[in-house]
Symmetry: C2
């Protein structure tokens, strides 16, 4: 690592805003430049507590995260916020409105905010998001919040990348509670009923309590329920207490520790695949052959299993 | 392939219900037994038109697919239906209610129905779903419908696996249309406004038309809008016509053809990774070392990039 690069790295570690922003951009663009930095930063990670928040659009996630950030800032903590947007698979664009709103939140220099689009191939988001979290972690931001929209598998996976998962509900969700049952019900460490001054808050809480009482988590944690009115700052202290309570629990939990090893194993295998893939596609002859194999498969002239064996063979031959 | 296996394969190709059901189960369980069958079936695929339907819970997807299936059955076609359920990441269970409802739809022997859970690691669902589609395709089911819940990235990816993507809306969605804008707006080939006898159907259609008019698709297709009342069978003929119109368009489209090659390339690289991964984890020494590497990473004693290089090295050494 050159002196200049090392200087940049030291700036990131010191939490220098511009340096952090620049490295996060490199990571987001999956620039190969970012890898050596991530490698160097890695030993400095593992200190931040990352909190994933998920919920339907309009449930008030951004407002809630704003309030949480303010509360942690008041304690003198540096706070990171990563907002994951659903993306147009064609254009790769993110929600403009959100980006504009994000800007207005970024006036405080102790709060780092970044909006990320879910572009790129399946699984890429989890990788990118967790690399961005690693940068913020190493740069001394703690806690780091990850907002995601929706309850799809992708969002669930991003939420699981975080140390704590918070599911945001609002009164009057109707069918959505049904979907929760089977979906993210069991990954929520804390449920937040926002807009709890609206009619129906009681009903949502009752239903949630019933669902929670029916299931037992392997780690023994009983998900907490917090009621908030984020727009008026109501319930934020209780929410922060709930997060801290879970943080203390997770630090002691053996089940959580094993889960972290399991997640690292998944991610390691994914990373190895991604590295092999990049090596292959950087090689022109190999890339051409892979394109040709894909065409043969699309035309049903070759089955994907035979083609995959050839891809593995290509990798072995080229990268001894 | 033994005689017995070949006999089984011939049954699947002939559309034998029990044989198809058994192979689909093998595929769903990711049994290694299924690979040789998938390989043999592959040349017989590519004939079915697969239609992905996505939308919020309660929008009426199942009823709509039922009606579509009836309509295609009346034309003498064999219809496949694959319902993808959100899953509890802990228990791996699927929505019981849906499964029960699915059963009641399976009385007609010309309709093959399977409910799939989204268990397993990220990306696995797309793989499994597309393998199940391949089995149904080879077995002569056409069209094959894929129902998914929600608008998360995972669901989007499953929908894209299909030849046509249909997004289901209902009047009074409010915020959801906003999410659509950036999310799956541009992957929808056909929009269906179900429950269109409810107030607000006009408003949803007007908003949709405005959104469609603002965007241009690279393939030149103008997404169709169909209004239905699935529970009363209203609009189903128009819906079927819209699907067939898009089918004719897609068959001619060069952009779609390139897109199919691109999808096959992604899937080929994924499959190669998955094969390498399985080879590695079957080897006890390699599997132990990977577990150890994951633990070292979780304890921040080793960075994931160095570990990934060792994983690739392990693969090269063990599987020359």
């Amino acid at each position: 690592m050159t002196d200049k690069r090392d200087e940049f790295l030291q700036k990131v570690l010191a939490g220098d805003f511009r340096a952090v922003a620049r490295l996060v951009t490199l990571v987001e663009n999956r620039s190969s430049e970012s890898a050596p930095f991530l490698r160097e930063l890695f030993p400095h990670t593992g200190r931040a507590f990352t909190v994933g928040l998920t919920g339907s659009p309009g449930a008030g996630k951004s407002t809630l995260v704003d309030r949480l950030a303010q509360s942690y800032r008041a304690q003198g903590r540096k706070v990171g916020i990563v907002a994951v947007d659903p993306t147009s698979p064609f254009s790769g664009g993110a929600i403009l409105g959100d980006r504009i709103r994000m800007q207005s939140r970024s006036l405080d220099p102790g709060t780092f905010i970044r909006s990320m689009a879910t572009r790129g191939h399946f699984g890429g988001l989890t990788r990118t998001a967790s690399d961005v979290l690693a940068v913020l972690d190493a740069a001394g931001f703690d806690p780091v919040f990850v907002e995601t929209v929706g309850v799809g598998q992708g969002e669930v996976e991003v939420a699981r990348t975080a140390d704590a998962t918070i599911v945001l509900l609002v009164p009057g969700m109707g069918d959505d509670i049904q979907a929760l049952k089977a979906g993210i019900m069991e990954i929520a460490d804390i449920f937040v009923i926002n807009k709890s001054d609206h009619p129906g808050a009681e009903k949502v809480e009752t239903e949630l309590r019933a669902l929670i009482s029916m299931s037992t988590r392997p780690d023994g944690w009983n998900p907490l329920i917090v009621r908030t009115v984020a727009s008026e700052g109501i319930g934020i202290d209780e929410f922060v207490s709930a997060i801290e309570e879970y943080r203390r629990f997770a630090a002691r939990s053996e089940v959580r520790k094993n889960e972290r090893v399991r997640i690292q194993k998944e991610r390691l295998l994914e990373l190895a695949c991604m590295q092999a893939r990049e090596e292959l596609l950087r090689d022109n002859a190999a890339a051409d052959r892979i394109e040709e194999l894909a065409r043969l498969i699309a035309e049903r002239r070759l089955d994907p299993f035979t083609a995959a064996e050839e891809v593995l063979e290509l990798h072995r031959k080229n990268f001894q």
